[in-house]
């Protein structure tokens, strides 16, 4: 057991460090360092442009999508090298937020199911951030129950015609491409009649409507499809085998989301360290220390759990369902942390304007964004089911629609 770099790792770290130091957009470093969940914005710049420029610069120098093969725009790096890069990239890594879906989920799905020519055409611009991708899975009728989706794809000659609606699509408003899960046969049980495609988001008939969230921001969208044409060559996997294709995406989703969810702890610790209460510094208050210690061990537990996963990965073991704990623990923790930070501010905790609120309203923004973290990419309840069933081997939930043709499944409760 050790934390020291091997000579190769040390050489890689030195190279990464030198390159980042010479090339990162340092003028944004402080702002990025201070940003936390619910608030990654740059005051005087368009964050999308800054992020794209940084990603392109990385790609040109061979530092983008480190774990991808070189021929698809990556570097062919080991899992450990990826971690070293993330450590060295520090706050600039926050700029990659808008590429997470593309790099973490769409890319791996394309790599597993697209043709060689397509991979060489679409993956390098995805890696370099020139093209942004989104993932079109969730629907009003199918959130946690992904396979309950209703968007139809019908074959017409060499094309498929898409009609329906998606929802909760992160970044659809600035995406160039998307992977799309559709229903191609409603007469068979729900998991058996799905097919996966990828499409150009600028195709005629695609309409993106941003959703205003509880936080007031708009990270998600509704996406409507009206007679959208997709060539059969853009199908991923076999017709009606979309469920299996989507499992590849969802497994990768858990890995990439789980690893990156903020716990809010470093922010809370700094806050308690500087906050003065009536009787003195907050951090010297007995009850504050107890709460902080509880959050501290959860945050460190998650950090070392992901280090164990990386060690396993680097020995060639596959990432397992145990990675679901990252999102489960961090998701509810960040919400509790935000509530607690407001509680410490007393009556003034209600104020959220950057001029009036403590630490420029950081925790108020976190409070309003946090509920989404517990839902996106699988709710807490779905994460617990995954752990119970796939790690502990408990029986699956009873599914009354399992063997029922999709078009015979009731669509309304309390009829």
């Amino acid at each position: 057991m050790n934390f020291d770099d091997t000579p190769q790792e040390a050489a890689f770290r030195a190279e990464a460090k030198a390159w980042i130091s010479a090339n990162a957009p340092k003028q944004y470093e402080e702002e990025l360092r201070k940003s936390s969940l619910g608030r990654t914005v740059l005051k005087d710049a368009n964050i999308l442009e800054v992020a794209k420029a940084w990603q392109k610069k990385k790609a040109d120098a061979g530092w983008a999508c480190l774990h991808w093969p070189k021929e698809y725009g990556g570097r062919g790096s080991s899992p450990i090298e990826r971690v070293i890069w993330q450590q060295e990239e520090g706050p600039f890594g926050k700029l990659s937020g808008m590429f997470i879906i593309g790099h973490g989920m769409c890319g791996p799905t394309m790599m597993a199911f697209a043709g060689e020519e397509q991979k060489r055409k679409y993956l390098p611009p995805l890696a370099s951030g020139e093209k942004v991708w989104c993932q079109l899975f969730s629907e009003p009728a199918g959130g946690s129950d992904v396979a309950g989706l209703r968007t139809r794809a019908e074959k017409k000659g060499d094309d498929w015609i898409i009609n329906g609606q998606k929802i909760w699509t992160s970044g659809a408003h600035y995406s160039d491409y998307g992977i799309l899960l559709t229903r191609t046969d409603p007469t068979v049980p729900k998991h058996k009649g799905l097919t996966m495609f990828f499409l150009d988001m600028k195709s005629p008939g695609v309409e993106v409507r941003p959703i205003k969230q509880a936080s007031g921001q708009s990270d998600f969208n509704e996406v409507y499809f009206t007679d959208v044409k997709i060539p059969d060559s853009q199908r991923l996997g076999a017709v009606n085998d979309g469920w299996n294709v989507s499992l590849t995406t969802l497994m990768n989703e858990r890995m990439s989301i789980g690893a990156g969810v903020s716990t809010g702890f470093p922010e809370l610790f700094d806050f308690c360290n500087s906050l003065m209460l009536e009787d003195g510094p907050a951090i010297e208050d007995r009850s504050v220390r107890s709460r902080l210690a509880n959050y501290a061990v959860k945050a460190s537990g998650l950090r070392y759990t992901s280090m164990r996963a990386i060690s396993a990965l680097s020995k060639g073991e596959r990432p397992g369902p145990e990675n679901s704990i990252g999102k489960l623990v961090a998701g509810s923790m960040v919400q509790e942390v935000a509530m607690y930070a407001l509680d410490l501010q007393g009556a003034a905790g209600v104020l959220s304007g950057p001029e009036d609120a403590e630490v420029a309203g950081k925790f108020q923004a976190m409070l309003l964004r946090a509920p989404g973290t517990r839902v996106e990419g699988g709710t807490d309840e779905i994460m617990r089911n995954i752990i119970a069933e796939r790690v502990l081997g408990l029986p699956g939930d009873i599914r009354v629609d399992k063997d029922v043709p999709f078009n015979k499944i009731p669509t309304k409760g309390r009829a």
Binding site: M1, A296, S311, L392, G393, D397
Partner: protein, 375 residues
Amino acid sequence: MNFDFSDEQKQMRDEARKFLAEKCPPKAVREVLDGKAPYDKALWRGLAEMGFLGVAIPEEFGGAGAGHLELCVIAEEMGRANAPVPFSSTVYLAAEALLLAGSDAQKQKWLPKIASGEAIGTLALFEGKGNPSPKAIRLQATGGTLNGVKKPVPDGAIADFAVVAACTGSTGRDSDISLFLVDLKAGGVEAKSLTNVDPTRGQAELTFKNARAEPLGAAGDGWSILTQVLDRAAVLLAFEQVGGSDRALEMGRDYALDRIAFGRPIGSFQAVKHILADMYVSATLARSNCYYGAWALSTNASELPEAAAAARISATQAFQHCSKNNIQVHGGMGFTWEFDCHMYYRRANASALTLGSLSYWEDQLIDRMRKKNAA
């Protein structure tokens, strides 16, 4: 970076697990629980023969000279088996104090006896309620003799020797505390067994009346040595707690698979599944914190104080959480003497207090994080 135990260390864990499954089944734990013996002597001898008692003791002092990572994997298995032997008091506390502060003669005298199972040791620190603090130590040391009362002392009634924290000044400061080594069989010390929530780990009151004592470490260094001993023991005990958490989780999982209610295994109900998923989460977070503690302990890293406190808190929480929810999953059966659930519940709640309470370690963790932050 490699954040895992080596194949050899994992092999040692498997060996220990196999050995304990055979020599320490729940039936053996019950012999001690029911008061038929103060500890499992046959198991203690077996552990010595396997080399587990001296695994982290250098070869020159009769040990196996393996190291603390190896001791961590053994500790985990001791906790998983709920072993009714004075392992934690002898190996984590007494042996660690000797290794840290003992003279060559003291090490030569006691460490080989620990490794061979001939001597049981303990640390006499507490004097009634309260957490570790120099102010709470009143037992007086004068001219090589000790006078005062210590309680609770883990395994104090069966121990052959004790490391005793005593007061050699009058201001209540760290520098007023010194450590002493006392041969408990040499006279001057009276031991009385005390009833406690976990009878498989005895607790005692030791009364010192002009007991002969030799200094362990320099005069006035007692508090600094104690702090280090407690940090090291915290990591080791945390591994026991993680072993216990895992076992409690397994018991709950197995019962949930076997027990049918409303025509289904109860483990198919989401409410039950989610209890077990949360047990897994707490045990996993604790295990990861423990691994970091193990690394810090084995390398004597400057991060050890913080890592030890985090491992201690996380493992205490996990063991309490898993053992209480194991009973919940078992329903009424879990609350019976006949089922084994209460043995883990007892151990979890006793372990939570033996090195100072959870709130004490929470306080320690924040102090240590602040110091690091300020540095």
